[in-house]
Symmetry: C2
């Protein structure tokens, strides 16, 4: 039996939201302890967790509340199957099976092996990019536990960061500043971009995630960045992304290019002038080439 604070931590739903759902939909319906405070039992928390997962996948709570736990899990499974229609999951199921086997050394070995066989660029583009999607979906289906996804993220970070660290850097490259806005916690996208650039010997000024807008502009000026690259995952609020981009652009020097990437950007309507949309990881290196030729044209030599 959990109290409302613990449920908030466990499910990611705020206390206010939990109380409002109870008031509005009649679910959850927690018991009370001796002091009149809410106590949630395990089945209700499980159901809340599935609901949260489905909401992260785009569903709205109103439609989900009256369904049973079984209906909800079925719905979750159904959703990802429908989307993963024609994609060949062969190589991915191997790795996901490895994740489920909890053999941490084998996982690391497998990733390193793939990296060595494919080379850095192919590893990122052909293996990691689709694998990330597959892992996300497996998690949404309930096939992967959170801790299994965490282990995956950590292992990939280890492999990528180690690869980045060992690359030599050219000094005549563009200065690329890499980060995300506050509220965006996903670091893997940034790291994959950094890896691709490192493979072209372009060093990055990586700030990790969640840099305040004002600081991004200040940092870009301090480091005399040629390119500022932001990453937006699907979970990021669309409006906030558009607003953030629009307010950041004029704070950057006109000569600084602003790249925006991540799964969210496909849904952004119109971008301000001087903002470059990176639809997928495959666009990163072409965008780098484009920047180089544009830069040469304006300042030859």
């Amino acid at each position: 039996m959990l109290n409302i604070s613990q449920v908030e931590r466990d499910t990611g739903l705020s206390k206010d939201t939990l109380r409002m759902w109870e008031r509005r939909y009649g679910f959850p319906q927690p018991g009370r302890d001796a002091f009149g405070e809410r106590l949630y039992d395990a089945p209700q928390v499980d159901k809340l967790r599935v609901i949260k997962r489905l909401m992260d996948a785009g569903q709205r709570p109103g439609r989900l509340m009256d369904k049973s736990f079984e209906e909800l899990t079925a719905l979750a499974a159904q959703q990802t199957v429908a989307r993963a229609d024609g994609t060949p999951p062969a190589a991915h199921t191997d790795l996901i099976a490895l994740l489920q086997s909890h053999d941490s050394p084998a996982l690391e070995q497998h990733l390193t092996h793939l990296l060595l066989r494919q080379g850095l660029q192919q590893f990122v583009l052909a293996t990691l990019a689709p694998l990330n999607v597959a892992v996300g979906e497996a998690w949404a289906r309930g096939d992967l536990a959170i801790f299994e996804e965490h282990l995956y993220t950590e292992r990939v970070q280890g492999v990528l960061r180690s690869a980045i660290q060992s690359m030599s850097r050219r000094q005549d490259s563009p200065r690329v500043l890499l980060t995300t806005l506050p509220q965006e916690q996903h670091a893997l996208g940034l790291l994959m971009v950094e890896t691709l650039l490192a493979s072209e010997r372009v060093p990055c000024i990586a700030l990790g995630t969640q840099t305040p807008l004002q600081d991004i502009a200040t940092a870009a000026a301090a480091h005399r960045a040629d390119i500022v690259a932001l990453s937006f995952s699907d979970a990021f609020p669309l409006r906030a992304a558009a607003a953030g981009i629009a307010s950041l652009r004029p704070d950057l020097a006109p000569s600084t290019t602003l790249w925006v990437g991540g799964s969210l950007v496909a849904r952004l309507k119109q971008l301000p002038r001087g903002v470059c949309r990176i639809q997928s990881l495959a666009d990163v290196l072409p965008a780098l080439e484009a920047w180089r030729s544009a830069s040469n044209r304006s300042a030859p030599g």
Copy 2:
């Protein structure tokens, strides 16, 4: 001007607490926007941050509220001076100056140089551990911008992860599971512990930050962990830490040791049986030794 949500994120003080302080002490005294919602200006948020910092150091809010920002910073400075009594800040000021110079390659070079000269263990224990404190204090003083601190964190992560990745692992070691509770975002502590263990050829099952309680227990069982290690920075709510530890302990197998570390743990009163307090990074390797001998005694051979 920030709204209450942003202040909550920025300071780590809950909305409830912010409203209660206003009601009870008359500070903060936010303005209101067109919709009657609280708007905090920058000076008040700065003051809240110092107050939070002093509270993390053991002060109680009632005594701090009516002091001015200057009095509070003086108090904070006094405290840190008192704490940093005999430590020579020479090497740290070098690195902090490097951070302020925005010379990213030089920073990385300097860190790598220190690592090679000191070796992994000394680098972590003698350089990084006090440097983290110094960086945190410089940030609190306003000497370092957020983006400079971010850059520091990223660079250190790169160096440590790359070092970890290149260490070989012994298979007859304890299985150590490494993570933090939800709400705890600081990953560097975990990474330093992982580095120390890697230097002893002990491989870790690193889950990164923010693993739900239930998942930690599940993961520990799935990986047959001998040791579960949690890290708590001093920004973490004390009560939540105590509650989390108390509720996790019985969910772990009795034979699994639970380590709790980080700057918060000094303030935890009494720990449940079977929970080991890691006061500082220097305690990690001794604790490992202690585990080994205890393990040998109970299961010799």
